[in-house]
């Protein structure tokens, strides 16, 4: 479903991604982890071309993002994305947040958009908040609304860019619960996260990045179950993160 082929990216002279190659199949739940500054967030943003790449190519559901003829807005409308800082539209109510893109991008009617949006809001357990504004909700609630907003577009894949990193510890659980539910339903997901518990529980593949390179790209069982076969950098990371 997503093929990342020899992707390299530079900010000026600084290379942030070096020759990254991997693929994500339909139904996969892929966790991308690694130390900060390793390029995980950049990599996930290249998948829907929010960040341009200078070399290589990414093909999403048969559509190449570097092809000049590709309609990027249309491609992005089929790829759901959840951000570290939620990025709900603060000037719009929760309902409008959920329906805006459905109406303006997908061309759905208002009633249909509201119906779909409310279904997704109900799914993340926040129906009661539909008339509030984002600023009136807690971080965890905002992130659940952001997930509902992405789901309202009926995406073929969901990208999560550190969805729990900006949350208070006690709100991490409610967001992870929604993500686990999605994974169990068979949604194709790519998640940049430090939540190793989540990775162990629902992922089937782990990508470990360091210094802009994909260092490990293996099944979850290999990654966590067979540490001796891992690269030194991944071993070091795992030993630090799994100690506690």
């Amino acid at each position: 479903m997503i093929e990342i082929k020899n992707v390299s990216k530079w900010y000026g002279n600084f290379q942030v991604l070096t020759d990254c190659t991997t693929r994500i199949n339909k139904g996969d739940v892929v966790v991308v982890c690694g130390p900060s500054g390793s390029g995980k967030s950049t990599l996930i943003k290249t998948v829907n071309a929010l960040e341009p790449i200078q070399q290589g190519d990414i093909v999403v559901d048969g559509v190449s993002i570097s092809d000049k003829k590709t309609n990027l807005p249309k491609l992005r409308s089929r790829v759901g994305m959840v951000f570290q800082h939620f990025e709900l539209f603060p000037h719009l109510s929760i309902t409008d947040n959920l329906t805006l893109a459905q109406i303006k991008v997908l061309g759905r009617g208002k009633d249909e958009a509201i119906k779909r949006g409310m279904k997704m809001l109900d799914r993340v357990g926040l129906s009661a908040q539909k008339d509030k504004f984002p600023g009136q909700l807690s971080g965890g609630q905002q992130q659940r609304v952001a997930i509902a907003r992405a789901l309202s577009m009926d995406p073929i894949v969901m990208l999560f860019d550190e969805p729990t990193s900006a949350l208070d510890p006690e709100m991490v659980g409610e967001v992870l619960d929604v993500m686990v539910g999605l994974a169990q339903e068979g949604m194709t997901m790519m998640c940049v996260t430090h939540e190793m518990g989540f990775a162990k529980r629902v992922s089937n593949k782990v990508i470990f990045m360091d210094a802009g390179k994909i260092v490990e790209d293996c099944s979850k069982d290999d990654f966590f179950g067979n540490p001796d076969a891992r690269s030194p950098r991944a071993k070091e990371f795992l030993s630090k993160i799994l100690q506690h």
Partner: protein, 231 residues
Amino acid sequence: MALNLDFSFLTSDVIRSNLVATFEYSIQLTAVAALGGTALGTLIALMRLSSVRWLQRIATVYVDLLRSIPLVMVILWFYLLIPASFYSMIAGSFGENHRPEFAAVITFTFFEAAYYSEIMRAGIQSVPRGQSYAGYAVGMTYAQCMRLVVLPQAFRNMLPVLLTQTVVLFQDTSLVYAIGASDWLKGFQTVGNLFNRPAEMYLFAALGYFVVSFSLSMLVRRLQSRIQIIR
């Protein structure tokens, strides 16, 4: 020397025939220039922030140029340079006899656009980059993302500054005396000349401009606390 002030000539008839229509014109001039200037200014701000080099250039030159020339001169030059045929074509309700009034509207719109564009540029930059990402991520085009996500927040963030600039604009409209347009100040002057009481009328004019400007400023202050977006 005692200042002998005498306001007895100021009857309601005098006020009605000299200070009402001219006041309306000054307000109209301010309103049109504020709205038109904000619209044009937003466009210029978008050009300046775009990644297209030559658009950036045009916008920068426009802003720098207009902000470096005294307003009175801009008013004079626009008045002299806008061809007569343009008036007859567009001026419609203004008519051939009201060339200065019409020229002033055009001038102020274009002049203020330079200032409003800088405000809007700051406003657009005040919206976090993640908001554009979120807009693009749900499939919006650049135009949709700007119109639906970024600009509404930029306007809201900048509304107090935009209105403050409009208060300044209102005061600046009095500079149309340079081309003899019949604005509010001209109304005061006319009465002053008519009764040979210029001192009284200039005092009265100052009071008038003060009351309007000060009320607007108070309004801005009250708005400021009410419209902030909860984040």
